[in-house]
Amino acid sequence: MGMRNRNGGGGGGGGGGTSGACYVYPDSPATPGIVTPDVTFDRGIYMNGSMTMDDGNSVRIWGFTDGSGGGGMGGNSFPSPAIRVTAGQIVHSRLNVQGMMWVHTMHHHGIEPADHADGVGHITWDVDGVYTYQWRPMHPGSYFYHCHTNTVLHAEMGMYGALIVDPPEGPGTLLSGGPTYDVEAFWVVDEIDSSWHNLRWDAGTCGADAGLNTLNPDYFIITGVDGSGTSAMNREPISATVQVGQKLLGRYICAGYHPQKINFGGLTGKVYISDGRPLPNPIEVTELRACSAERYDIIFEPTEPGEYIISTDIIHWITGEVLGTAKTNVIVTA
C-alpha cells in the first residue's frame, strides 16, 4: 500500500535505486546557497561490511566510506570515518550514493543547519546520486552523523560515525577559555540485534512487518568493537592511558536505541558539555544515564594509579532489564 514517492508516482525511482520501496524521496539537487567551503568531507556508502564478534559470529554492517568513489575507496570502517571540524568553518559533506547502494542521507546529529542540509528524507530528499550538505558548526563538542533514510534500520546497521567540533584552539581544548585535555577516548556505545542485520535496505517501508518495533540485542559494542569481554580493553582510542596529572577527555555517545548507564569504574569526572552545549555549571559524575543519541563530554583528572573499567549497561527501554554491558578501560600510571 502507499505510494512510492511524494509525487505519488508508481515508478521505481530515478537511478534504479528504489524499486519496491515506499515513502522514500529520491533526489540529488544542487545545494541552495552553496559557497566555497573551508573543508570538505567526501562520503560514499558501503553495504557489504561485517563485524566479527567475540563468539566468532560475523554480523553484516553498513556504513559510510571515506572518499568520493562511493564503493569502498576508503575501506569499510566501523564506525564510519570521523568528521572533525573547527567551530566557524564552512563545511561541505559530499555524499555520493551509487545506484547499487539505493538511497541514503547524512544527518549531522546535533548540528542544526538549514533544512536542506539536515538530511531528513521526508522533509527534503533521500540522496540517489551526489548531494553536498553545507553547514557551519558553531558549538564545540561531540556529535555524530548518521543516515536518516529508513533510520530505524540504517542507523542500527551501523551507518554512523563520530563528528567532533573543536574550538578554534584545536584538539586539546574542549571549549575556548575552558578546560583542556591531554588524552582523548571515544566511547560510542551501541547494541546490535543480529536478526535485523539480514534485512533489505527498505525493509518495512511499504508496511510489511519487519519486526522493527522490537530490538532484542545480542551484541553490545563500543566504538565498533565487541564490548562484552576484553576486546575493547587496552585498545586506544577506545581505552586510554593517562599519567597522574594528565587530563582525559571521554567523549561518550549513546549510539544505540535502548537507554544506557555508563559507570566510570571508580573515577570521578566532570561533565562540561552535553549535546554540544556547555553546561551552565559543570557537574561531577561517577556514572551517567543516557538516552539514544545523547552525548556527554567528560573530563577526568585521575589521582590514583590503577586500572579503571568503563562499563556501560544497555537497559531495555520498557522493562528496565540490563540486556548487556560494553566495557573498556582506562589505565592510570604514576
Binding site: 500500500m1 502507499g2 505510494m3 512510492r4 511524494r6 509525487n7 515506499c22 515513502y23 524521496y25 546557497g33 559557497v35 546529529h109 546535533g110 548540528i111 542544526e112 543547519p113 538549514a114 533544512d115 536542506h116 539536515d118 531528513v120 521526508h122 522533509i123 553547514w135 557551519r136 558548526p137 558553531m138 558549538h139 529508513n150 533510520t151 530505524v152 542500527e156 525493509a203 518495512g204 517501508t205 511499504c206 508496511g207 510489511a208 512487518d209 519487519a210 519486526g211 522493527l212 518495533n213 522490537t214 530490538l215 536505541y257 535502548h258 537507554p259 552535553s274 549535546d275 554540544g276 552545549r277 551552565p280 555549571n281 538516552c291 539514544s292 543519541a293 545523547e294 527501554w317 520498557i318
Partner: protein, 333 residues
C-alpha cells in the same frame, strides 16, 4: 460485544476546536481565580490504524458518542477551582486522577461523579484513570492538564524562561494484544510488545501516504502537535508519557531548553537535542526557542524540521512503516 457496536475513535478535530476556546496557543492570565467546569464521558471504541488493524481504546471524551484519545488538554490558572464531572458510560469501574491534585476514587459503571479541587500548584500534569493500573491508562484514559502560575502568561513557574505559546506532546505506546485483552475485561498475560507509537493520539503520515497532511490523521500536521513559529516565537512544550516505553525526545533545528523532569524544576537549564523521557508516567517541560538554526549557512530563518523519538523503534507502525510512529514536524515560518 461486536465491533460494530462500538464507536469510532476520533481525536484531533474535536480537540483543535477546543483549543481555540481555551486559548491554548495564547494563554491570557486573569487577576482573579475562576471556577472551571468540564464534563468527560468515559467511552470506548475502535480505531483503524495505518496497517488496517482495528485497535480497541477507551477515552475521556467530550461527548457520549465519540472517543477522544488523549482527552482534551486543559489549561487553568493557579488558584482556580476545577469541577470535573465524569460520566462513566462503560460496564467497568474507572477513576479520574491527577497526582498531587485530585483522586476521584472509583466511579462505578453508569455512574456520574463530580469532583471539585483547587489547582493549587503550577505545572504540567497528566490526568488519567488509576484503576486497573496501568491498563486503563494505556488504552487511552489519559490527557494533559496544565496549571499556569497565577497572573503569568509567559512563564512555566515564576522566574522561568519565558515563552509566547505552548503545546502538549503526549506520547503513548500500544500493544494491540493488551488492548484486546482489556476490551474483554481481562488482565493481559503476554509480554508487553508495543506495535504502535503515538503523539497526541496519532501516528505520522509521511508525504505520499494515505491521510498525509490531513490534520485529523497525520501527526506531522495535527494542529495540537506540529510546532509553528517565526524566529523568536519561544514555545513551551509540555511532554507527558502515559506509555510504558522510555523515550529519547529529539528535536532538529534547535536545541530544547530543558526546564523540568518528572515535575521537578532542573537545577540548571541545559540545552539539549535529546532528552530522556521516562516510561510509565515520565514528564518533561522544554522550550523550543525558534532561534535561527545556529549551524545554518547562509543563516536560515525559514524551514521545516522534525521532532522524533530517537528510540527509533517508536518511529514504526506494525513492525514496519518507518515514519508512521511518534513524530511531528516543526515549521519555521
Amino acid at each position: 460485544m461486536k465491533r460494530r457496536d462500538f464507536l469510532k475513535v476520533g481525536s484531533a478535530s474535536v480537540a483543535s476546536t477546543v483549543f481555540g476556546s481555551v486559548g491554548l496557543l495564547s494563554w491570557a492570565p486573569r487577576a482573579y481565580a475562576q471556577t472551571i467546569t468540564k464534563t468527560f464521558y468515559i467511552t470506548e471504541g475502535y480505531q483503524t490504524l495505518i496497517t488496517g488493524e482495528d485497535v480497541y481504546f477507551r477515552g475521556f471524551s467530550d461527548a457520549n458518542g465519540m472517543v477522544n484519545v488523549p482527552g482534551e488538554s486543559l489549561i487553568v490558572q493557579e488558584g482556580d477551582t476545577i469541577e470535573i464531572t465524569v460520566v462513566n458510560t462503560l460496564s467497568t469501574t474507572h477513576s479520574f486522577v491527577i497526582d498531587g491534585l485530585v483522586d476521584s476514587g472509583p466511579i462505578a459503571s453508569n455512574q456520574t461523579k463530580t469532583i471539585t479541587f483547587e489547582a493549587s500548584k503550577a505545572g504540567t500534569y497528566l490526568y488519567y484513570d488509576k484503576m486497573n493500573a496501568p491498563y486503563n491508562r494505556l488504552v487511552g484514559l489519559h490527557g494533559g492538564f496544565a496549571v499556569m502560575p497565577s497572573g503569568l502568561s509567559n512563564q512555566l513557574y515564576p522566574g522561568s524562561p519565558t515563552f509566547v505559546q505552548q503545546y502538549f506532546w503526549i506520547f503513548n505506546d500500544i500493544d494491540p494484544v493488551w488492548h484486546n485483552a482489556i476490551s474483554n475485561n481481562q488482565t493481559p498475560k503476554t509480554a508487553y510488545e508495543p506495535r504502535y507509537f503515538t503523539i497526541n493520539g496519532l501516528g505520522a503520515r509521511p508525504p505520499g501516504a494515505p491521510g498525509s497532511h490531513d490534520p485529523n490523521i497525520d501527526a506531522m500536521v495535527d494542529t495540537r502537535t506540529a510546532l509553528h513559529g517565526q524566529i523568536g516565537d519561544r514555545t513551551l512544550v509540555r511532554i507527558l508519557n502515559p506509555g510504558l516505553a522510555s523515550q529519547s525526545v529529539h528535536t532538529h533545528g534547535n536545541h530544547m531548553e530543558w526546564l523540568t523532569e518528572n515535575g521537578n524544576i532542573r537545577p540548571d537549564i541545559w540545552k539539549k537535542d535529546c532528552i530522556y523521557l521516562d516510561g510509565d508516567m515520565g514528564s518533561l517541560d522544554v522550550i523550543y526557542p525558534f532561534e535561527v538554526p545556529p549551524d545554518s549557512y547562509p543563516p536560515a530563518t525559514t524551514g521545516t524540521y522534525p521532532m522524533h523519538l530517537h528510540t527509533e523503534m517508536s518511529q514504526t507502525a506494525g513492525g514496519g512503516f518507518y515514519m508512521f510512529g511518534a513524530l511531528t514536524d516543526i515549521y519555521f515560518e
